[in-house]
Amino acid sequence: MVAGDVAVGFVRGEPDAVRAVYKDYGKLVYAVAFKVLGDRSLAEEATQETFVRAWRGAGSYDPSRELGPWLATIARRTAIDVHRRSARRAHSPLDEETPGLVELPPSVERAYDVWEVRRAVEQLAPEDAELVRLQHLEGLTQSEVAQRLALPLGTVKSRSFRAHRRLAGLLGHLRDDPAEPRAAERRTQFAEEPPR
């Protein structure tokens, strides 16, 4: 989480402060944009625009609250706008479809979860995050991970268990548990209209 003076610097558009905020939240913003847009180039466009919008909308930011959720909301809204712009560019004016009506991709619904899981993964040690990536993204078994990383199988097993235990602890609030209302509350906040 960025310090208060960094947030103040960000509001002023100071390059070092903007860079510090990007360092903490840039990849999270990019992950949300990529989830919504599914395209690297559009996701980068949306990330740039998110930070500019955040700077412009800084008057609505409450410095006593965490910067992340506020940025996440702007990132989601910006990605949706970039998606709409991109979809309109792809249609010629002579298309028979109703102009201006662009359907949102279903991935928008999971943007909040991607933000939360990415944030949790970033809190793992880099070698543990890589192990989790190999297991889940590349679909490797623990034996295959051991071979890929040239580690004993027992080491991979214990590191995998440690990493997943940490993830489970960090992501407990994502459970649809009546005793855990934070997920629904945060999802609602995430979908709120951000500054434009």
Binding site: R12, K35, G139, L167
Partner: protein
């Protein structure tokens, strides 16, 4: 299912059984962990582009072409008084902007710099470029050493390139000493600066013979 079993299931360890509800919940988390969006990495220079975009917006707000942070929509008031007040404010803003521009006061100019490296075609070449945002576009001053003078239909050409590989020519020259070029595209979206050797043979495309390469970054 206890916590140990839940974690083992999440980690994909074989032989761990889960009830339908828990399985659905854990499988959902596993699907998120397998989502390419989660692991997608932005270009390494995206931070520079973000910093530059905010700096550009910041300068825009100073000269009145973009809203400042926290700017609110104006509230409708008495039309006559609002028009008069608006006129005075606009006039004052124009005067302030003109004074700032003429005096060089206010914030420093938006500048990018690029350290240029030689390629396999020009291993000893080195250089630097400064890109300054001006009213008419981006002024690029370039200086390099280790490159011979080209003439008789041979020349150098500088380009800005975006991450999709689109090249925009920014000028030609014989020798890279105190050269001033102009770009109509910003380094925020076209951050890579290259210099190629060209022949005046009627083909305006890049020869691909790159002799200098660098990435423009916001000047500190």
């Amino acid at each position: 299912m206890n916590d140990e079993e839940r974690i083992a299931y999440l980690a994909g360890e074989p032989g761990v059984e889960a009830g339908p509800d828990e399985r659905a919940e854990l499988d959902d988390l596993r699907a998120l962990l397998a989502d390419p969006a989660l692991w997608a990495e932005p270009s390494p220079d995206l931070d520079d582009r973000v910093v530059a975009a905010v700096a550009e917006a910041s300068i825009g707000s100073v000269i009145g072409t973009a809203p400042a942070p926290g700017a609110q929509q104006p509230v409708r008031r008495n039309r006559g008084r609002a028009a008069l007040t608006g006129g005075l404010v606009a006039a004052a803003a124009i005067i302030v902007a003109v004074v700032l521009v003429l005096s060089g006061g206010g914030k420093p100019p938006v500048q990018f710099t690029a350290a240029l490296q030689g390629t396999a075609l020009s291993p000893g070449a080195r250089g630097e470029a400064t890109l300054t945002k001006m009213t008419g576009g981006w002024r690029v001053t370039l200086n390099a050493t280790g490159l011979p003078r080209l003439a008789n239909g041979r020349f150098y050409e500088a380009w800005l390139k975006n991450h999709k590989g689109v090249l925009v020519p920014i000028g030609t020259f014989n020798q890279p000493t105190n050269v001033t070029l102009w770009a109509g595209v910003p380094p925020t979206s076209f951050p890579t600066l290259t210099v190629t050797r060209q022949l005046a043979n009627g083909d305006a495309a890049s020869s691909g013979e790159r002799v200098l390469v660098g990435v423009a970054r916001p000047a500190r």
